[in-house]
Symmetry: C2
Amino acid sequence: MKYFLTEDQTPRHYYNISADITEPLLPPLHPKTKKPVGPEDLAPLFPMELIKQEVSKDRYVEIPDEVRSLYNLYRPSPLVRATRLEKQLKTPARIYFKYEGGSPSGSHKTNTALAQAYYNKQEGIKKIVTETGAGQWGTALSFACAQFDLECEVFMVRGSYDQKPYRKVIMETYGATVHASPSTITATGRAQLEKEPSSLGSLGIAISEAVEVAIQDSKTHYALGSVLNHVLLHQTIIGQETLKQFELANDYPDVVIAPLGGGSNFAGLAFPFVGEMLRGGKAVRAIAVEPASCPKLTRGVFGYDFGDSAGFTPLLPMYSLGHDFMPPGLHAGGLRYHGASALCSHLLNMKKIEAVALQQLECFEAGLLFAKTEGILPAPEATHAIAQAIREANQAKENGEERVIVFNLCGHGHFDMSAYEDYCKGQLKNHSIEQAVLEKSIRSVQLVPEEIS
Amino acid sequence: MKYFLTEDQTPRHYYNISADITEPLLPPLHPKTKKPVGPEDLAPLFPMELIKQEVSKDRYVEIPDEVRSLYNLYRPSPLVRATRLEKQLKTPARIYFKYEGGSPSGSHKTNTALAQAYYNKQEGIKKIVTETGAGQWGTALSFACAQFDLECEVFMVRGSYDQKPYRKVIMETYGATVHASPSTITATGRAQLEKEPSSLGSLGIAISEAVEVAIQDSKTHYALGSVLNHVLLHQTIIGQETLKQFELANDYPDVVIAPLGGGSNFAGLAFPFVGEMLRGGKAVRAIAVEPASCPKLTRGVFGYDFGDSAGFTPLLPMYSLGHDFMPPGLHAGGLRYHGASALCSHLLNMKKIEAVALQQLECFEAGLLFAKTEGILPAPEATHAIAQAIREANQAKENGEERVIVFNLCGHGHFDMSAYEDYCKGQLKNHSIEQAVLEKSIRSVQLVPEEIS
């Protein structure tokens, strides 16, 4: 059973959860002075409109007409009741999923890519440089740049670059230039390769490379696919649509689930529901699912850390494993990030959201069950949400209780077939991170300075 | 602009164009006796319900509830007005496309796969064997068999098998066994490999291999992904939905376009519109688009020919290039078939439909333009329809006339990235088939026996 909205029922505004958070967020700090950063510090990288969104306290930010018209290429996305999965699980729970895989990049990333490309174009920018992990963000930005005649350059984490050769091709199809990261074309990349010639890379390194290229030219900007407030903001169209679709279904979730890499996937679905709760509406359990091999929310620490490995970015207040944490080459490349967005971290501190870490074999098993019952082969990132939804459904069954579950099926797995091939051949394994390794890596997370806390 | 139907607006019946064709079709003939085949001749390969559909003259055939419920996993599919493409072309034409790529196999093939698996299950069959060209049909049948707990074995044309390794993985993900064809496990395959060890294969050879396996066991059946009347019948849900969606759009097409490999893609969209016309409704130009490198409709001859290369199948009345025609290794694997379905061939003879052959470079160029403007990367087969739609739109512009065009975007190209890679690198070329080669190959098409014509 699918719940569709018409195009004129889609949101006209992004929802900004900052307006509904009473305990104030800590500010980002300048990497050198350790004073709160101002707009002028960010202007070499981002257009002013996005910087304003980054610090805005307005509850709603209008979606520009041109962006909304592009959203209509693939939105509103369906909310689907997973009745065949429910039947297979013999659960009394009602399971819904929001499907974001119908977008041009095959994932939710297109939602923010189009907005970011638009605001950059408005400011006269000619080129955008970025990083990509799983390749979904890079694909999304390539497509978005093609819509606004912007050049696009992508640093793709080496592990994913090798696992998913066709991600590179689709980015090139949309006109982008793609480098494996660490690359030899930046100082950061060369330093990393010197340290570890066979480095699989990480999002942190790829971000440093992209920032390094972006700051060299005034008509070139940088774009980030998650973590920052404005990115999370753009994704809230997902949850806002879902709220309306639950009205059509005459239902409301008890549990809202999404994978968490940097936080925008989770925020996209969960924040509109958490916002309702913060404003006195119905309570939901919002659960962020991270991989056990990159467990910042469940095993990291809260403090100030860099967004990238080289320390070019502002210090952000977040749960982190340390900015040089090197996650194992797990197949959910989009979840291999060392930190969680400031907003998600803050809400976890406030106990308004929950976090859980899952191993990849359980996730792939859940993904295959989902493909066989619901007909969509999920991206490895998305399998984390499915696995948690199945846990919740099984618990509901044990307790003999109705439970309404919704999760974000953030993308399809058509470019992740090598992961499924490995899984089907029994060649995938779970990763456990030793406590000693974590403790060492976490040391680079800085305490909140006294004058700020 | 997208036009959605609700699930309860989807068709409850398949539409059988035979009911509206006044000039009778020629019957299929037994390969040895050359007498019309009876149900008993087909029973070793197909369930009786499908054999009945093959010869039915009823205008409507009810869709079983279980099949309809499975259709609801991905149907109704959207009809989309391609406004960004129109703008790019600066055409006064209105261009619509019906998008079938949201199905579990990523193409329209799922529509008939589910029906065929269902009827086989009803008859107590345990296993289905088939062939696949581009891999879409094999994927669809693998998924469908998983829904009904049937074993599935697929012979995949070697050319596609090598070009698209991940097609194999997705079929295995759904539980199927996949062989490259020609294989060493059938007599047909071995004979072909002896003749030509590096054979790229063809649909004709793969069909022979699948039939050879199927006839060896009474609980095993064969399934075909196109060509036969019952396959075309199942696909008519596409055009029936489209008719209703044009009511929502308050519009009606002048031109209906789809690619033609065996005929089911074309029939799926076009037959409900052609049927309206045959019953006295509005006239449409229904255009079947074939590749210039496999031009059965535009350069083949009408007569009786085998459906497969080894001559196991009945003789079918159709346009054919000869059953041992070996098409070049073009990238639209789904269009590399030597013959066109009897129904499509008959309608072409009656001048109720048109045919055109296009070169692959024009098609890929059209595919990329479509991806950049409408955000969906099309399957190479689908690019043939896009290219023809663009020709029609450009002609409308030249003539300064409004023209309403609809085409079948039969699938996405996520498993065809090697083709796009080759195209972007300038490594693809057009193929021209020499007249002498065609003439030789066409000799195997048999004249219609006098006592039948």
